[in-house]
Amino acid sequence: MIPVEHYIALSAILFTIGGVGFLVRRNVLVTLMSIEIMLNAVNVALVAFNRVRSDSHTGQVFAFFLIAAEAAEVAVGLAIVLSLFRVRRTVRSDEADLLKN
């Protein structure tokens, strides 16, 4: 059996990749994907911790809820990206400055 530390390490690596991707990339699609990676890192951590405790399944159930929330979030996010593209002909976040000034 793979010890829980490995899962946590994987989760931390994934979260860091997502966070750095979110911070440094200007492409909104990539930003969205980075957010997905971070959320999935959380999912991994939840399930891994739940595996340690055999008496409860809260972590696993919680992971399902998170997946549903992610789906909804992606639907809204992509819709926003599409609208942005229609209006500004760009998917770069730093060019989405309609509200500025």
Binding site: G19, F22, L23, V24, R26, S93, D94, D97, L99
Partner: protein
């Protein structure tokens, strides 16, 4: 018919007729005000006259019902429209209900008839007088509204309802004085009237507060029942208000010079009862509304309004509201002989003062205006002397003859205006003369009213004015509770013996002047030759020099504007059309009022008749008002016995007749026999005095300089404080500070999502570092030197205790034991250290020095040890 009247329309507690009397004028005001512009003049005229006519008819029916009820010992008919409000007099007292309740008794019944009756006649007159005016509908809306407000004032059963009417007539007066508001002086006159009235209203409001505080009631019968609470004759303490004086001011020494400041106030404090305070406050309200010193200044200016308004509001009805109020609350006023004397003196002084101004005025309306102020002074002299019936009777007769005089003056101005298209000069008596030939009806009624006002025997004015003068001499204000107060050794002020003679002398002097200036007005206007032919041709005016008082000063106002030319002025080089009599709707009211001016006195028992015939039994008015003044009679005594009273009345009668004879005789000699020569010579001899009287003793200017100037200065100060402190310091500085912060913060809020995300990451990292730190903390409990130190718990915490900081720990490893026990002797101290490690292996620590205080041994022991 009689049953229907008594059982349906005018039941004792539900006299619906009262509602009708009030509703018709209100309906007229509403219709004329809202639809009047579209209805056209004839419809407006019909509406206004119908409203007043129906109201008068209802008032007559109500009066008949009241008369029958009085026969059945019901003195008052009431009607409650609805409950208005409930208020609290003072904590712990029962609530004060204030319903919108109206009532009619003997006093308000007479007043109601006067207002609706004279009001109707003046409406008829005005419907012709104002026919050429563009604001016809507006005029009648205001006039109807005025009658409604006046009826509310009269018929209201409690002070707040009266106050609604009081303010309503003030508003209508303001609107009607400034009716031709495009002319600046008119607008200013309206404003002046409104503000002077506000000062009086302040007094009335204060009086209301005091009354509800002390008596717990605001309706007439309630105040009457509890009025003695104002002097508290039986309670253990006297109600003292405002001790005035008492040595706060000490003399100041400037070197050898001593400034006697103690003269500014009495050495021992004056105290006044609540009754005096209420009386003074109420009287301040009356001076405002009824144009007495010091607030009389608005009434002469109020003549800027249309003449029917002057007749109705500023002569016959509204200005008598003050006397009505005093009569209504007579039982409060008699509780304070001081206030009664103040009222009498104010009245006499106003009568005299206004009469001196009226002596020299040239504008016919100005003469009548000051005459009104003077006559109102007579009324106050009457009520102040305790002769409430006489004072109110003068209100009644004055309403007829003064309304008639004003309407007559309006008729004259109407005729003059047709020749002279100028407001000022068509009212100038110097341009009139000989009008009796052209306007016989106006002359006849004007002369009849003049006879009444100057006190020609057996006219209405003779009866009422004589009664006032006689009562001023005879009556003495006595305190109704003097005995009870004397038992408690409380001194009640009582007027000294010279007071009635001074009052009477002032009254007689004013009556003499009245006779003089009214005859002068009559002679200048109607007698002699018409002087208006030449107006408009300055060369001839100067050449002829027939003007009255051709002193150098008074001509410039006449002729100044002629250089500019009145382009619509007709050519007056030839004698044009003569002045004409006014049309019938204007003369009929004059005839009715003129007749009333002569005969109205017969409804009263005059003192003069009583002197010759003691059992004279035809006394409708006096007995009619008896129930109203029953309570107040307790406060009116006499200076002597019956015999002395009788002789004093005779003296007064002779004095009044002499006043009439001297005043009118002098006027006849001066203006008819000598053609005005003595008057001109007199004016030339004392030009300064004459000029001062012509300028109304410059009271307006004095008020401008002192009170109005002071208020202006205060306003300027407030304005500069507003601009300097509020606007600059508070508003500007605050906005600049906020703007500066905004400028700084705006650079951070740059709209780039990634910067926000990075800031969030930094923040989260900071929070994470804080929450993973180990926090060492503990609490200490002590009993007899045994200290128990308990560490605060935390997740996965291990503890390491150092009983002596810097010494060795209890155990080398972190353990779960979170308490440490140590013992300290008295006066010793020890420093304890705690180290904590948490789940992340981070360590925190805390040190604390514990000191046990030394217990003081008892002092005895110490002494013994020595």
């Amino acid at each position: 018919m009689k049953d229907f009247l008594l059982n349906v329309l005018a039941k004792k507690d539900d006299a619906v007729l009262l509602g009708f009397v009030l509703a018709f004028p209100l309906l007229g005001a509403f219709v004329n005000g809202v639809f009047g512009r579209r209805l056209g003049k004839s419809a407006v005229r019909l509406m206004a006259l119908t409203a007043l006519g129906l109201s008068f008819a209802a008032a007559v029916a109500l009066f008949v019902a009241l008369d029958i009820s009085v026969g059945q010992h019901v003195n008052k008919l009431t009607w409650t429209a609805w409950d208005w409000m409930t208020t609290n007099a003072r904590p712990g007292e029962p609530n004060v209900e204030i319903p919108l309740k109206f009532s009619v008794d003997a006093l308000s019944g007479v007043m109601m008839l006067v207002v609706t009756g004279v009001g109707f006649l003046i409406h008829v007159y005005a419907s012709e007088y104002m026919i050429a005016d563009k604001g016809y509908w507006r005029f009648f809306c205001y006039l109807n509204l005025f009658v409604f407000s006046m009826l509310v004032l009269i018929l209201g059963d409690n002070l707040p309802v009266l106050f609604v009417g009081w303010e309503g007539v003030g508003l209508c007066s303001y609107l009607l004085i400034g009716f031709w508001y495009t002319k600046l002086p008119n607008a200013q006159a309206g404003k002046k009237a409104f503000i002077a009235n506000r000062i009086g209203d302040f007094g009335l409001i204060c009086a209301m507060f005091l009354l509800v505080y002390y008596t717990g009631k605001l309706d007439w019968s309630g105040i009457a029942a509890n009025a003695q609470a104002l002097v508290t004759p039986n309670a253990s303490q006297q109600v003292h208000l405002w001790p005035i004086g008492g040595g706060q001011f000490q003399d100041t020494h400037l070197g050898p010079l001593t400034i006697p400041l103690h003269l500014l106030q009495p050495g021992t404090p004056w105290t006044i009862t609540a009754a005096t305070a209420v009386g003074i406050a109420l009287f301040l309200g009356c001076t405002g509304k009824s144009a007495q010193i010091p607030l009389y200044v608005w009434l002469p200016d109020a003549m800027a309004g249309p003449t029917p308004v002057s007749a109705l509001i500023h002569a016959a009805t509204m200005v008598t509201a003050g006397i009505y109020l005093i009569c209504r609350l007579s039982f409060v006023f008699v509780l304070s002989p001081a206030v009664m004397t103040i009222i009498a003196f104010t009245g006499a002084a106003t009568a005299l003062f206004a009469a001196t101004i009226a002596l020299v005025q040239n504008d016919i309306k100005k003469v009548l205006a000051y005459s009104t102020v003077s006559q109102l002074g007579f009324m106050f002299l009457g009520v102040g002397s305790g002769a409430f019936t006489a004072g109110f009777f003068h209100v009644f007769t004055h309403a007829f003859f003064k309304a008639c005089l004003f309407l007559g003056a309006g008729s004259v101005i109407h005729a003059m205006h047709a020749r002279i298209h100028d407001d000022d000069r068509s009212q100038d008596m110097r341009n009139m003369g000989g009008l009796k030939k052209y306007m016989p009806l106006t002359y006849g009624t004007f002369a009849a009213s003049t006879l009444a006002i100057i006190g020609f025997p057996l006219t209405s004015g003779w009866f009422s004015k004589d009664e006032i003068l006689a009562m001023a001499l005879v009556n003495k204000p006595v305190h109704p509770y003097a005995e009870q107060l004397a038992k408690r050794s409380i001194e009640v002020w009582s007027p000294p013996g010279w007071v009635p003679w001074l009052l009477w002398g002032m009254g007689i002097l004013a009556a003499t002047m009245t006779a003089f200036y009214m005859c002068r007005c009559l002679f200048l206007t109607f007698w002699g030759d018409f002087r208006g032919w030449t107006v408009g041709r300055p060369s001839m005016v100067h050449a002829e020099g027939t003007h009255e008082h051709e002193a150098a000063h008074d001509d410039h106002s006449d002729h100044e504007d002629e250089e500019g030319g009145h382009h619509h002025e007709e050519d007056l080089s030839q004698p044009g059309l003569p002045p004409h009599e006014s049309p019938r709707p204007m003369t009929i009211p004059l005839l009715v009022l003129g007749t009333a001016a002569i005969v109205a006195g017969l409804v009263f028992n005059p003192a003069a008749v009583k002197i010759f015939k003691h059992d004279f039994s035809y006394l409708p008015m006096e007995h009619w008002l008896d129930p109203v003044f029953e309570e107040a009679k307790k406060g009116v005594g006499a200076w002597g016995d019956e015999h002395k009273t009788h002789s004093l009345e005779l003296v007064s009668l002779v004095g009044a007749l002499l006043a009439f004879a001297i005043g009118s005789g002098t006027a006849y000699w001066m203006y008819i026999l000598q053609q005005g020569k003595p008057a001109r010579e007199l004016a030339a001899k004392v030009p300064a005095l004459y000029q001062a009287a012509l300028d109304k003793w410059r009271v307006d200017e004095a008020y401008d300089k002192t009170i109005i100037g002071g208020v202006d200065a205060l306003a300027d100060t407030a304005a500069s404080v507003d601009q300097g402190v509020v606007d600059l310091l508070l508003a500007r500085v605050t906005s600049l500070t906020v703007a500066a912060f905004g400028t700084v913060l705006r650079t951070i809020q740059n709209g780039v999502v990634h910067v926000y995300a990075a800031a969030m990451v930094v923040g989260l990292a900071g929070l994470g570092w804080f929450f993973t730190a180990a926090h060492a903390d503990f609490s200490v409990a002590e009993a007899n030197g045994d200290y128990t130190i308990t560490a605060a718990p935390g997740p996965g915490y291990g503890f390491k205790w150092y009983p002596e900081a810097g010494g060795k720990p209890q155990s080398d490893a972190f353990i779960g034991n979170d308490t440490l026990k140590i013992h300290l002797d008295e006066g010793k101290s020890q420093t304890v250290k705690l180290e904590v490690v948490n789940a992340f292996g981070r360590v925190g620590s805390k040190e604390m020095t514990l000191t046990r205080a030394k217990t003081e041994k008892p002092a005895q022991t110490i002494v013994g040890e020595r």
